[in-house]
Amino acid sequence: MTDTTATPDTTGKGGGRRRLVISQEQIVLIVTALLAIGFALTLSGFATIGNLLALTRSVAILGILGIAMSVVVIGRGLDLSLVATMAVSSAFALQLMQHGWGWPGAAAAGMGVAIAIGLINGFIIAFVEVPALFTTLATGFLIFGLGRTFLLDGVITYLPPQAETFAWIGQGQLLGIPAPVIVLAIVALFVQVLLSRMTVGRFVYAHGDNVDAARLTGIAVRPLTMLEYAICAAIGCLAGLVMAASTASINMQIVNSTLIFDVILVVVLGGVSLVGGRGGVLSVLAGTALIGTLLNGMTIMDLDNNIQNIVKGAVLLAAIIVDNRLHPQDEETARQGD
C-alpha cells in the first residue's frame, strides 16, 4: 500500500537531511561566525570580552523567551500569548513587591500566575481543541486585558528600590558575567536536559512529530500539552522577571510590540520547525546568537535603528533562502504547515 515509504522517495526529507552534513542550526552558526569575524576585523571594540558579554546580555531575554517558545513549538504548538504572559506575570510580581511582599514570595506568585495561564492555554488547546494559534492569539488579548484590569495598577510597574536582592538577576554580575546571561545559561541547560535527557522531553518530541502516533503509543497527550504550555509560560515569566530587574520596571506596552515576532524568528531561524518535533535548545541559541551579533555590530556602528532592522531583515531573508536551497522541500513529500 504505502509503497512510497519504502522507496527512497521519502528519504529525500529524512534521510537526505542526515546525509547532507549541514543542518539548519549549523548554517546559522556559520553565518553568525562569519558576521562576527567580519565585525571583529572592521569594528574596533567588537572582539573584546566586555563587548561579547554585553552582546550576550542584550539578547539574553530574547534567548530565554526563545527557549520558552521552543518547548511548545517542538510539541507542534505556538504561544503567541508568551509576551503578554511574561509582562503580566512579572508585573504582578513587581506589584506585590511594591506592596511589601518579599521578592521570593512575589516572584513565586508571579510564576504561579504564569503557570496558571499556561495551563489554561494548554487546556483550551488540548481539550477544547481550538488550534494553538487562535487560542494563544485570543488569550494574548485576554491576559493583557484581565491583567491590566484586575491585577495591575498601571501600564508601567516599577521595581521598588528596596528590592535590591531581586534586582541582581537583572543587574548583577558573577565573575564578570552579567546575571541575565547566567539565567539564560541555566534555563538553556535545564531545558536541554528536560528535552533530551528526560522522558517528558522525549514525549514532547513525539507529540510534535506525530500527535496521533503519540496518543496511540500511550502518551497522555492532553496533559502533556498543558505541561508544555505551563513550562513555556513559566520560563516566559522568568524572562519577564529578568527584564523587570534589569530596567527596574516592566512596561505592559511591550505586549503591543513586535517582540513576539522576534521570539518566533530566533526559534524558527535556528531550525526549530513549526511543524514540530525538530530542533532543540541549541537551535534557539544559534538563532539568538545571530540576531545578537547583528544587533551588537550595528549598534557599535551606530546605525539608525531602522537601517538596523532593514539589514536584520536582509540577513534573515538570506538565511531563509540559503536554508531552502540546501534543504529543498520535496513537493511530493512535504508536510504542509510552516
Binding site: 571594540g45 573584546t48 566586555g50 563587548n51 554585553a54 552582546l55 546580555r57 542584550s58 531575554i61 491590566r148 495598577d153 498601571g154 501600564v155 508601567i156 516599577y158 528600590p161 537583572g170 543587574q171 548583577g172 554580575q173 552579567p178 527584564m243 534589569s246 530596567t247 527596574a248 520596571s249 512596561n251 505592559m252 506596552q253 511591550i254 503591543n256 510590540s257 544587533l295 551588537n296 549598534t299 557599535i300 551606530d302 539608525d304 535603528n305 531602522n306
Partner: protein, 362 residues
Amino acid sequence: MTLRMTAVVAMASAVLLAGCEAGTRSGQEAPVGTASTAQIKAPSLTGGDSSANLQKRVDQALQGKTIAWVPIALGIPLADIWTQVMRSEAEARGMKLEVRDPNWNTTAALQAVSSLIAEKPDILVVHNPNVQLYAQELARAEAAGIPVIQVNMVSNQKTTAYVGADWPKVGRLLGEEIVRSCGKGSGSSGKVAIVQGEATSAVSLEQMQAAAEVLGKDPSIKIVSNQAANWDASKAHDITATVLQQHPDLCATVGFWGVMQTGAAQAVKSAGLQGKVKVYASGSDGKLDCDNIDSGLITKFLNYNSSSQARSVIAIASFMLQTGLPPSAVRMADYSPLQWMEKGNYDPALCYDTSKPRSPAK
C-alpha cells in the same frame, strides 16, 4: 484650599495672556489673535457686576458640561496624572470628564475622536499620537463648534489651544546643560549618547534637533550614539550597555523621556559607572522620576509639570465655556514651565503619585 483657588485663577489669567502670544510664536500659523479678538462679542462676559451674579453666571456656563478626553493610552503615569487632575478639577467645577481609552491603538483612537464629535461634547481634549493623524477630525470638530485643546503634542491642525511643553526649548536646555558638564573645559571625554524616543515622533525629533544643534556648537562634544529606543526602557538599556562597552569614558547620556531613560540609567548602574556617566532626561513629574533622582540613577531631570498642564486644560476649557467663543476665535498655547530637578535640590511637591490622587474638596 484658598491657595489652590488663587493658583487656578492666576493660572487662567496666565493662560489667557500666554494665548495672546501664541500666534506669533508658532510661526507657521497666521496671527489670529488680533483678528478674532476684534470680533469677540461676548455677552456672557457681562453680568459679572456682583459676586453673586458672577457665581451664578459661571455656574450656568459650567454646570453639567462635558469635557471629552482622548489620551493615547491610560495606565502610563503621564496620562494617569492628566486624567486624575483633569477629572478632579472638572468635577470640582461641576463639569463631567468623559475618557476614551484607545490603548495605544491609533485606529481606535481615531474612531474615538470621530464618534466623540458625533456626540458633541462641550470641549474636546486630545493627546495626539502624531502630528497628522487627528488633523482632519480636529478641523471637523471645530467646524461642529467644539473647542479642541491639544496636549503635549500639537497637531498640524492648530486648534483652540495647545497645552504642553515647548519641545525645542526642552532640547535646547538639555543640550546646554550637557555642554556645561561635558563640554570644553569640563575635563571630560566629551562623549555623549542620545537616546531618542520614536524616530518619527515630533516630540522626540524636536528635542533631538534642538539638542544636537546646541551640542554641535561645542567642538569638544562628540555624539557617539544617537539611537531610537521607541519609548522602551529595555531597549534603551541594551543600547546604552553596548555604547558603554565601546565608550566606558562616556560623559553623559540623554534621553527624551524619563520612563525610557530609566533603562539607560540602569545600564549605567550595571556597568558600575553610576556617578561617572551623567544621565539626563526630560519628562513629567511621575513618582518614578522623583525616585530615580533620589536614588541617583538620574543625574538631572528637566521637568514639565503634568499636573499643572492638566489644570491649564481645565482652565482653558472653563474660559471657552464662560466666554462662549466660537472655537476658531482663539488660537492659543500654554507652554508648560520647565524646572530642573536633581537629587536633594528639588521640590518634592512636584512629584505626583497617582496612587495618592490630590483631589480638591467638593
